[in-house]
Amino acid sequence: MQGTERDLNYKETELCLGLPGGGGGGGGENEVESSPKTTGKRGFSETVDLKLNLQSKEAGMDLNQNLETCSKQTACTKDPSKPPAKAQVLGWPPVRSYRKNIMANQKNSSEECEKAAFVKVSMDGAPYLRKVDLKMYNSYQKLSDALAKMFSSFTMGNYGSQGMIDFMNESKLMDLLNSSDYVPTYEDKDGDWMLVGDVPWEMFVESCKRLRIMKGSEAIGLAPRAMEKCKSRA
């Protein structure tokens, strides 16, 4: 719960406007480049103003915080006494830029995928297994390219413009499965073997436990089940 709360709060502060005359730039990463004038005499009087503002607001906000312990996020957007996100002040908090940069980079990559999603990939006839991190790719096409590189004799069938097998077109599907081309299949959370490409990419990443690349003719047994599942979800 803590994690999602944090995510919400971060996005929310990104949208908030900085204080007028703040000079620091609204975003978190810009404070290093912000005009040094914020630290001059004007900088100080600005902090004095903030202090005065805050002292009256802090009291009000603190009472609210005491009353609503878990609903910080909703309180934030609705509570008028909480000041908007402050412009970041140069060199504050005192964290070295090296550390700030590392954390910023980590955050970017972790917002996309909290955890890696490694799955084993086997290909019929190949002497060894491989492993891929599904989170490294954002589409079936990218995954297909990567698998193709890995198993160079492997060719993916024609996926159509959206990168998904067109289940509604039975004849197209049948052509593919009758060919000697390889098609990728996967074992989903329920333990069923499915054709890759039937569900949206994100859903696939969530449910895929392992991949197996088999000849189209062998995969033919999967197609009806795959279509059943697809229809039941639609």
Partner: protein, 611 residues
């Protein structure tokens, strides 16, 4: 040469009694029955004896005291000092230092003030190692060890060290910049006796030179190789060969470009390691090496001497269980780049009974800190860094975590704690539960933030710290603070040597309390606080005892600073502007002043004026 003996250029002559006595003996020596005094020069005998004795004196404070006894002791101490520490590279010139101390084997130099780390000062302010490098090469060709902090070191300087100092053994660069991988390449290639190369929190530019390959072939003497801050790819095969050829290697800290698979290969070659920085602790981007993942647990289990673990720069928490075998022996664990949750931490920390030093991110939340408090009874040093280092970020740790630590870790000596909220009650509790505290640094990231429970300023909390922690020498304050907090510090902080202040205080009185009350104060750094010229004046009696004073965005004027400069000729008073401002305003943006035997430095950038 430390700050203490810079005041004294030559001891007063009334302390010269030893030499005089010896001279008298000589005059009457021929008549006495002591053959030693007849033939040998008594001064020389005494000095030889003294030399042999003083060799055992290692503490620089003891040596400074010894050098003040009399001229003879001054001379002999200078001859026998082999480790030279200079806390401010501008306090004394290389020429003066090498003239006094002629047999130095190890040099330690510090440059920029700490607030430069937070971009409060334009770059290129100074602290160039170059004049020192050249002086050392001439005066101490046998120099073995150089330790620099916050200095600008160029590739040429590295070359100087490597080429002109035969038998150079140890280079430690902390928070330095100005050099790159090409400098490193020359350095490692030429230093055939190198034992230690430690690059810590330094900025190393990527000149695309494969410096790891430049280590000489064959067996190496390397005992420590730390390069976790180097932000560029390295030649792994060369590194693997190097590790294999370094039987004495005890400390190895890898950068984040080393994958966990590569870490494994290094660990199985170096099970004797005591300090390990794991690099990324995640697999490389290329899809895994087939079905078999290396047995990481076994690799860690083989490292029976491992006591210090760090790295985890791009951690995949699934791999954490690999370190279970070493947890029970760990005395130091640095998770400060590992964004892990309390749940991920608990199975690790519950095994770390011997842990003394723990650095971590606040992602572990108060709950994680409670787990630390429950197990780590030997904890001496704790640092909690923010995942989200912004003022209005989330606050996953709070007074709850601090309270828990204070109750569980009674032997705590040093703490650095970033948080968004803190109560006086928790700080007071820590002051009572952890009486051994020497370093207390609390950073409440919201400026001017009061105690969220009582609405009060944080004065009482910090007051309790200085009152109850009798050994306290370093203090950093934050949150809403009135002059009262400084009154407490001035009254009770009698051993405080380093004080950091930001966005605090009401008036000049605040600074006055501190300058008048803290006799041991050596390093004072203040930003964005309402202290003006009158407050500055109140420290005139003390500035020669200090290494430096930094005040930025306070209420100082050029005339106020000028007054200080006039009153204290051995103080260098620098007024630093931001790089783009030309004229001097009526306000002083940054004041940085320090005692010095040399007067104004000659390498001033144009944004610095010396008054």
């Amino acid at each position: 040469m430390s700050e203490d003996d810079e005041r004294q250029q030559s001891p007063p002559s009334d302390l010269d009694f030893v030499s005089n006595k010896a001279r008298n003996c000589n005059a009457t020596g021929s008549g006495s029955g002591h053959p030693e005094f007849q033939s040998a020069y008594p001064d020389q005998v005494l000095e030889n004896v003294l030399e042999n004795v003083l060799h055992f004196l290692t503490s620089k404070r003891d040596r400074n005291a010894a050098s003040l006894v009399c001229k003879s002791w001054y001379r002999v101490e200078a001859l026998t000092r082999s480790e030279l520490f200079i806390g401010n590279c501008y306090a004394v010139s290389p020429a003066r230092a090498t003239a006094r101390f002629t047999r130095v084997r190890a040099l330690q130099l510090k440059g920029k003030p700490r607030f430069a780390d937070f971009n409060l000062m334009p770059p290129d302010w100074g602290a160039h190692f170059n004049p020192w490098a050249l002086a050392m090469a001439k005066a101490y060709p046998w120099l073995e060890k150089v330790h620099l902090k916050r200095m600008t070191v160029t590739d040429d300087d590295l070359a100087t060290l490597a080429l002109l100092l035969l038998g150079f053994k140890e280079l430690v660069l902390v928070c330095c910049d100005g050099f790159g991988t090409s400098g490193l390449a020359i350095f490692v290639n030429e230093c055939r006796q190198l034992k230690v190369l430690d690059l810590i929190d330094s900025e190393v530019s990527d000149d695309e030179t494969d410096w790891i390959s430049c280590f000489p072939e064959g067996e190496s003497h390397l005992e420590s190789l730390i390069f976790d801050c180097v932000e560029c790819h390295i030649n792994f095969e060369a590194l693997e060969r190097l590790v294999a050829n370094s039987p004495s290697l005890k400390k190895l800290r890898l950068n984040r470009y080393v994958s966990i698979g590569q870490l494994y290969r290094l660990m199985i070659r170096a099970p004797q390691l005591t300090h390990l920085g794991t690099g990324s602790f995640s697999p490389s981007e290329i899809a895994g090496q087939g079905d078999q993942e290396p047995d990481y647990v076994n690799a860690f289990a083989a490292c029976k001497s491992l006591v210090c673990l760090s790295g985890f720069r791009e951690i995949i928490p699934d791999y954490l269980p690999a370190i279970y075998p070493v947890c029970a022996n760990l005395t130091s664990l640095n998770f400060s780049y590992a964004n892990i949750t309390a749940e991920q931490l608990k199975p690790i920390i519950s095994k770390c009974h011997k842990l003394q030093v723990f650095w971590v991110l606040d992602s572990i939340c108060d709950e994680g800190l409670q787990a630390v408090a429950a197990t780590c009874k030997e904890l001496r040093e704790l640092r909690v860094f923010p995942v989200d280092p912004r003022e209005d970020g989330d606050g996953p740790v709070s007074e709850v975590g601090l309270q828990a630590i204070s109750e569980g870790c009674r032997k705590l000596q040093s703490i650095l704690y970033f948080c968004q909220r803190m109560t006086n009650a928790a700080v007071i509790a820590m002051s009572k539960n952890c009486p051994d505290l020497v370093v207390f640094r609390l950073c409440i990231m919201g400026r001017h933030r009061a105690d969220p429970v009582t609405g009060e300023p944080m004065d009482d909390g910090f007051g309790a710290i200085v009152m109850n922690c009798k050994k306290l020498t370093r203090l950093a304050v934050s949150g809403l603070l009135t002059d009262k907090a400084f009154d407490y510090i001035g009254q009770h902080g009698k051993l405080v040597r380093t004080l950091s202040v930001a966005f605090a205080g009401d008036s000049d009185m605040g600074l006055k309390y501190v300058l008048e009350g803290c006799p041991q104060l050596q390093k004072l750094e203040i930003r964005d606080s309402p202290f003006g010229d009158a407050a500055l004046r109140s420290g005139l009696h003390h500035y020669y005892n200090m290494r430096f004073l930094w005040m930025s965005s306070c209420r100082l004027t050029p005339s106020g600073c000028q007054e200080i400069a006039r009153a204290m000729p051995r103080l260098v008073v620098e007024v630093i502007r931001s790089a783009d401002e030309e004229e001097m305003d009526d306000a002083v943006e940054i004041l940085y002043m320090y005692r010095s035997l040399e007067g104004p430095r000659t390498d001033l950038p144009k944004f610095v004026t010396i008054l």
